[in-house]
């Protein structure tokens, strides 16, 4: 196991270097002058522009700039934003908000998804199954920003149950955005639970369990369920990284001060350091979540060994 984890961690290095190079290249290629809006309506003094460009190495060739940036990144220096805060400070403030949002979404998709999937899968083709299948189909076809806008309209404005935006970062105000963020993954986790339970109910070992006189509840609840929930747990774990990266729309819609909004503002204000570093952090979370899931899989399923 130790060998497997080391190998996977080493494999992450080229992916991370490739990601930063790609992102840096894209951020570098962004049209527009980064000093253009710094001094309000007036043109910036030439001296200031020169100092700014020297400070951020803007006149170096692309690769020198990138290596310089990578060197800083390795030393934990993600750069300074135009408002004087370092990116690390901003990340420290905003990271908990995005994590809270993603955790709400993950709990939602895990609890509701598994419950609905089990109810549907136990009686395949029944009324609940049809209902759940139709509902997941509906969820899959509504993009997050439409669900979000509709939720703001219905639950925020018409019914007044939830605050329409979540600028304060309180848990209650993050609830609706979290559910909106998790809606799409909820559809996937429901369907996965259902399919995998249906497959396992047909398996020979369930028939054996019933034949040797176990009650239906025990045969399904203990034998089939344990095996069917393995892929679901994998999916839910892996979706955590994706949810954090996908939170950009939800954060913008509900005005949540998270990493997504930091990246979005970085794009609007053409601040390269606010894009490359935070996106790299999200990619790292995505890769680590996948690794943890793979390790967990071997722990839960003794048939799978990574050695």
């Amino acid at each position: 196991m130790g060998k497997f984890i080391t190998r996977r961690l080493l494999q992450m290095i080229p992916v991370l270097i490739g990601t930063t190079l790609l992102l840096y290249f894209l951020a570098f290629a962004m049209p527009g002058d980064p000093t253009a809006g710094l001094c309000g309506d007036r043109q910036c003094p030439a001296q200031y522009v020169a100092q700014f460009r020297a400070e951020y190495h803007l006149d170096d060739p692309f690769f020198m700039q990138y290596l310089n940036y990578l060197n800083n990144l390795v030393h934990g220096n993600f750069g300074v934003l135009l408002n004087g805060h370092t990116v690390v400070q901003e990340l420290a403030v905003r990271y908990p908000n995005t994590v809270k949002l993603a955790v709400i979404a993950v709990i939602f998709e895990a609890v509701v998804g598994m419950a609905a999937g089990i109810l549907a899968g136990i009686r395949k083709g029944g009324f609940i199954d049809t209902l759940v299948t139709l509902f997941t189909l509906l969820l899959l076809s509504i993009p997050v920003f439409v669900i979000g806008s509709l939720a703001q309209l219905v639950f925020g404005i018409k019914l007044g149950w939830f605050p329409v935006t979540a600028g304060d970062g309180g848990l209650y105000s993050l609830l609706m955005p979290g559910l909106v963020l998790g809606a799409l993954s909820l559809a996937y986790s429901t369907r996965l639970t259902r399919t995998s339970l249906v497959e396992n109910l047909r398996a020979d070992y369930v028939r054996t369990a019933k034949a040797k006189g176990l009650s239906n509840a025990r045969a399904i609840g203990i034998h089939a369920l344990r095996n069917s929930l393995l892929p679901v747990i994998t999916y839910i774990g892996a979706s955590f990284g994706g949810l954090m990266g996908g939170a950009i729309v939800t954060e913008r819609l509900f005005n949540i001060q998270g990493i997504g909004l930091l990246i979005w503002n970085g794009i609007l204000q053409k601040q390269r350091v606010a894009i490359v570093g935070p996106v790299t952090v999200l990619v790292l979370v995505f890769l680590l979540a996948n690794l943890i899931v793979d390790v967990l899989y071997a722990v839960l399923d003794p048939r799978i060994s990574h050695d």
């Binding site: 992916v15 990601t19 790609l22 189909l137 076809s141 509504i142 920003f145 806008s149 309209l153």
Partner: protein, 316 residues
């Protein structure tokens, strides 16, 4: 793919050979056409494609022509003043905008799916067939693009690409291809991985070894034996991804980094309708483009499910 289908489908005047000539594709077609959900999806898709190709068929007028929008009828509710879906805050007919919005969505969705799948499948075939260092290099490159979330990466790429500013036919296609490029760049690793593992599974089969023993060139082995037999999972992935590309394009346009404002698109219309004051005042502005967008995605998802059920032998 068409070649395989026509080669395998027996002519109707030869009922005797029907049993032996059954291929994966004829089997799949037989399964699909018996499912009502397939026909529902197909009817919806045909309607939306017609809408994209020929909006005049639905008695919609081009909302970009001059004098189409009258400010005095701004935000009139549906049914009042002659538009079935009401008017937006510029006084433009929401019905016209919704019908004309189909074109951009469908174009972007279909072209992105084709570009990402073909590119991914070709590289996947190369990686899976050659293996060794070529495979290692291509797989690592795919890992980089795979680790970037689709939406986040597409936003960054879209802002890095130059924006065509003035409305013209050339710029219309340029704008469409900007979005296609951004999404296909991030979308190809999935078909790549699927194709690669399918090719690795197919390669050691006897019929491929037999072809090699008969002296077939590598190119011939790949094109006439390996690729036809490893194509079906990629087709499943492609039909499943089409809906999510349409959703991502709408999201990008909603955020204001996708299609420019002078191209009518559902994402743009929803963006115009979704400021909080307007949601309160004129919710129908949000409702109709959202409804059409969701129905389009729904029809492609349903098609994807039917195709998956028909082509995945495990589920039979």
């Amino acid at each position: 793919m068409t070649e395989i289908v026509t080669a395998a489908t027996p002519r109707p005047d030869e009922p005797a050979s029907r049993e032996q000539a059954r291929s994966l594709w004829t089997d799949a077609w037989d399964i699909m056409r018996r499912r009502p959900i397939f026909w529902i999806a197909m009817v919806l898709i045909v309607v939306f494609v017609l809408m994209a190709v020929w909006p005049a068929l639905f008695r919609a007028d081009n909302p970009l022509l001059p004098n189409m929008c009258l400010l005095e009828r701004a935000r009139q509710a549906p049914g009042v003043g002659g538009s079935a879906f009401g008017f937006d805050s510029q006084g433009c007919s929401i019905y016209d905008q919704t019908i004309y919005g189909a074109r951009a969505s469908i174009l972007v969705g279909i072209i992105t799916t084709i570009v990402a799948s073909v590119f991914g499948a070709i590289l996947g075939t190369i990686a899976g067939y050659l293996e060794g260092w070529v495979d290692a290099v291509l797989s690592r490159i795919a890992d980089v693009f795979f680790a970037l979330p689709l939406l986040l990466g597409a936003i960054v790429i879209m802002t890095a690409l130059p924006t065509p500013s003035s409305p013209s036919t050339g710029n219309y296609w340029l704008s469409i291809f900007r979005v296609v490029l951004a999404m296909a760049l991030l979308g190809w690793p999935y078909p790549f991985r699927i194709m690669r593992s399918a090719v690795i599974q197919v390669k050691p089969n006897e019929y491929v070894l037999a072809a090699r023993a008969l002296g077939a060139s590598p190119l011939r082995m790949v094109t006439s034996h390996v690729v036809p037999n490893s194509l079906s999972p990629v087709i499943v992935v492609a039909t499943n991804d089409l809906g999510s590309y349409i959703a991502t394009e709408a999201t990008l346009s909603f955020l204001g980094v996708g299609l420019p404002s002078w191209i009518v698109s559902w994402g743009g219309s929803i963006s115009n309708a979704s400021s909080l004051g307007l949601i309160r005042q004129a919710p129908f502005m949000l409702l109709f483009p959202s409804l059409f967008l969701c129905l389009t995605i729904l029809s492609f998802i349903m098609l994807g499910e039917v195709v998956r059920d028909a082509l995945d032998p495990k589920l039979r």
